[in-house]
């Protein structure tokens, strides 16, 4: 049966959280009522990326993009758009700059600068239907490999493409495959690292939810090229939807003979199993991940031996991250020379970023390497929320650092980010504005590292705890000038001596904020004040009697009844009861409450 129209509804975790499944049910109901169920198909897709405006509904073929849709809008979409051909104006995206509505997603600032390679199918296909993947050249790369290319030719193609690992380190993928292919063994393993632990990064999850077959296809290609017949996906147990979609995809791939014995008539066999992570950030490190798959504590071990030589069950193992793998099929079908024309000299292709924080367009974006932070934040991201001033962008998660205004025009790639004191990491990009305190941010990340340190080596286990304590002291107004040097020295020692990547990069948030925002640390220490108004111990809330008209709104919303006063008489705050939650500041219409 062929449909005249398709209604694509985002079925990613973010939009499902705002009831996109309810929209699907209501759409199908409305279509049925109007006898259109046979002509219009509703499809739950993967993530569209524009999470800020979710849930998203897109109508094809005319590419109309509806935002913040609720189940109650479904009947109107069917009646107006699908039957009468009139767009539902109030659900269209309003461009904040031009104040006009844009109906075609291709004309939105958010999408214009993007180039979707790894995310090519997310938001376009039904991830639970293998035929939709196949119709977009899916499994063509695997077929090309097993029928036309030798394993060595596949490795060479990936090497030539210049693809580097997207999980954080940026190690050349082709080289990694070559190492694993050189070792002889009765069994080798291909591992997909889907243990996305960086808080605020969700690209791997979106790929698995929106395009699971691209990962499966890439793992099989990798297996063919290094001589492995077994694949394992190490996935976070906290990703139930991604797990479910992967399981469906694996089942379908087996049914279609794309996994199993003698794939596509060749003598290459490959199977994939799932292994579940259980919430440990350090398991993103490949040796730790391998121990975890073996059922043990996820503690890293010294390299060498590298996993390429002795990994899972002591056999040669190649570990790649989800986004890295999602690039592989396109490189094979379109050729390394197509891929290596995108990007900068030493960082080829595109990178997916999870853009979040104080930015207008929160979402998942993919841009060519070499795009500047300014383009990402102001053109794609639509600028800072509520017109506030940009302060910093944190990249690389707990292993990365903060970049500031002076870095806005740096082309983003692996090497430039490192040179600027941060790193690519897995692609989390958290934007901060003038209300964010850099001491508090550094403390936040250290709190994370302390909690996630596996405890095996002393620099990370004890060193990071001490870094955290010093930051905590400063944020409470008890810091002293010597603390600055202590942070710097200790940070350096940890970087030089920790066992694995987690420990070696954990002081980065402290060191980079010290480099870029030293003044802010000094104000905390010398004046015992937090200029951004985040460090609770250094704040007090005060009502200006000149501005307060005594409307009692703050009194009524204060959760601790800390505001005293009567109608039409300026109120006061009982500082003993005040928990400094900021609700009164948000509620006051007369800007009478300030933070000191």
């Amino acid at each position: 049966m062929s449909y005249k129209m398709h209604v694509l509804v985002c079925g990613g975790t973010g939009c499902r959280a705002s009831n996109s499944l309810g929209i699907i049910a209501k759409l199908e109901e409305a279509l049925k009522e109007n006898n259109l169920a046979g002509e219009v198909q509703v499809i739950a897709t993967g993530c569209f990326g524009f999470c800020e405006q979710g849930p998203i509904v897109k109508i094809m073929p005319d590419n109309t993009f509806y935002t913040r849709v609720t189940p109650n809008d479904a009947a109107e979409i069917v009646k107006e758009h699908i039957i009468k051909g009139r767009k539902v104006e109030r659900l269209l995206y309003k461009d904040p700059k031009q104040q006009a509505s844009v109906s075609d997603s291709r004309h939105m600032g958010f999408y214009q600068k993007q180039l979707r390679v790894a995310l090519r199918n997310c938001g376009f296909i039904d991830p639970e239907n293998i035929e939709e993947y196949i119709s977009r050249d899916g499994y063509a790369a695997l077929a090309k490999c097993v029928s036309e290319m030798t394993p060595q030719e596949v490795v060479n193609e990936i090497k030539l493409s210049g693809l580097r690992g997207r999980g954080g380190g940026g190690f050349p993928t082709g080289l990694k495959w070559e190492f694993a292919s050189k070792y002889q063994s009765d069994q080798k393993y291909v591992v997909c690292n889907a243990d996305e632990g960086d808080p605020g990064a969700f690209m791997d999850r979106s790929i698995m939810e929106g395009d699971p077959h691209s990962v499966i296809e890439a793992m099989a290609i990798c297996g063919y090229s290094i001589g492995a017949s077994k694949g394992l996906v190490y996935i976070r147990a906290e990703y139930p939807l991604a797990i479910q979609r992967l399981k469906i995809a694996l089942q379908q791939a087996r049914e279609y003979g794309l996994l199993g014995e003698g794939i596509l008539g060749s003598d290459f066999s490959f199977s994939i199993e799932l292994r579940y992570g259980a919430g440990a950030f350090v398991c993103g490190e490949e040796t730790a991940l391998i121990h975890s798959m073996e059922g043990a504590r996820g503690e890293p071990t010294m390299k060498p031996p590298f996993p390429a030589e002795a990994g899972y069950l002591n056999r040669p193992t190649n570990v790649n991250n989800v986004e890295t793998l999602a690039n592989i099929p396109v490189i094979i079908t379109k050729g390394a020379n197509w891929f290596n024309k995108i990007g900068t000299e030493r960082s080829k292709g595109t990178k997916v970023f999870a853009l979040a924080g104080k930015i207008n367009n929160v979402g998942l974006i993919e841009v060519p390497m070499g795009t500047t932070l300014r383009e990402v934040i102001y053109e794609i991201g639509g600028g800072i929320k509520h017109g506030k001033r940009f302060k910093a962008v944190q990249t690389g998660g707990p292993s990365g650092g903060c970049l500031t205004e002076k870095h806005l025009d740096v082309p983003i790639d692996f090497d430039n980010l490192l040179a600027s004191g941060s790193m690519m990491g897995s692609g989390g990009m958290i934007v901060m504005d003038e209300d964010d305190c850099m001491v508090a941010v550094a403390k936040f990340y250290l709190d994370f590292t302390v909690e996630e340190s596996c405890g095996k080596c002393t620099p990370c286990r004890v060193g990071n705890k001490r870094l955290y304590e010093i930051l905590d002291k400063i944020s409470r107004g008890n810091g002293e000038m010597e603390d600055i040097d202590r942070l710097r020295n200790l940070g350096k020692v940890i970087k030089d001596t920790a066992l694995c990547g987690l420990g070696q990069t954990s002081p980065n948030p402290v060191l980079s904020t010290l480099d870029n925002f030293l003044d802010e640390y000094l104000v905390h220490i010398n004046a015992r004040k937090c200029p951004a108004g985040r460090c609770k111990e250094l704040l007090s809330y005060v009502i200006d009697p000149q501005l307060c008209i005594g409307c009692t709104l703050c009194m009524r919303t204060c959760p601790t009844e800390a505001i005293i006063g009567e109608r039409k008489v300026p109120h006061t705050i009982d500082t003993d009861k005040c928990i400094k939650c900021g609700t009164c500041v948000e509620k006051c219409k007369f800007k009478a409450i300030s933070v000191r």
């Binding site: 906290e238 992570g277 259980a278 059922g295």
Partner: protein
């Protein structure tokens, strides 16, 4: 530590889970996932049964249970509350939301209210960063939560026992 006695049927189902995974040490994490899925938590007594089946010291099982944040040795409340403390939620004020839950329920992170109705936890990124700050009660996701919303959210569960 309080001791609990596992019912015969609980022990049998644990033995069955272990057997399903071939009593293999390498399957320990998968076994723990299933056991916690059934029982809600992994008290010492459960770990002892699993260790015996896999023929490994209990310390090895305990080491794994305490290493991974997904595993818990205390039961959760009837309505488990989790506040996202991922970076995106943090910069949009999730710490204040968490503080308000703590204050309202008078418990700390990781604790259960005395009546067993709510437990409070924090988690790292559910990936709904567009809705930040996010809180979960059971499977239900609440987006763009403010301090003032906390009371309303808790009230929703008043009549749900």
């Amino acid at each position: 530590m309080t001791t609990i006695t596992l019912s015969k049927c609980t022990i049998d189902s644990l033995i069955e889970i272990c057997a399903k995974h071939g009593n293999q040490t390498g399957e320990l994490i998968n076994i723990l996932h299933e056991a916690q899925g059934q029982l809600g938590y992994l008290p010492r007594e459960v770990q002892e049964v699993i260790a015996k089946q896999l023929n490994i010291p209990v310390s090895r099982v305990y080491g794994v249970v305490t290493f991974y944040s997904f595993f818990t040795m205390t039961p959760k409340g009837k309505h488990p509350i989790s506040v996202c403390m991922g970076t995106a939620c943090y910069v949009r004020g999730s710490e204040k939301v968490l503080d308000e839950f703590k204050r309202r329920l008078n418990v700390n992170v990781g604790d259960v209210t005395p009546d067993g109705r709510f437990s409070l936890g924090s988690l790292r990124c559910v990936g709904a960063c567009g809705l930040a700050p996010v809180a979960l009660v059971g499977d239900k996701v609440y987006g763009r939560v403010t301090v003032a919303d906390v009371d309303k959210i808790l009230k929703e569960y008043d009549d749900k026992e």
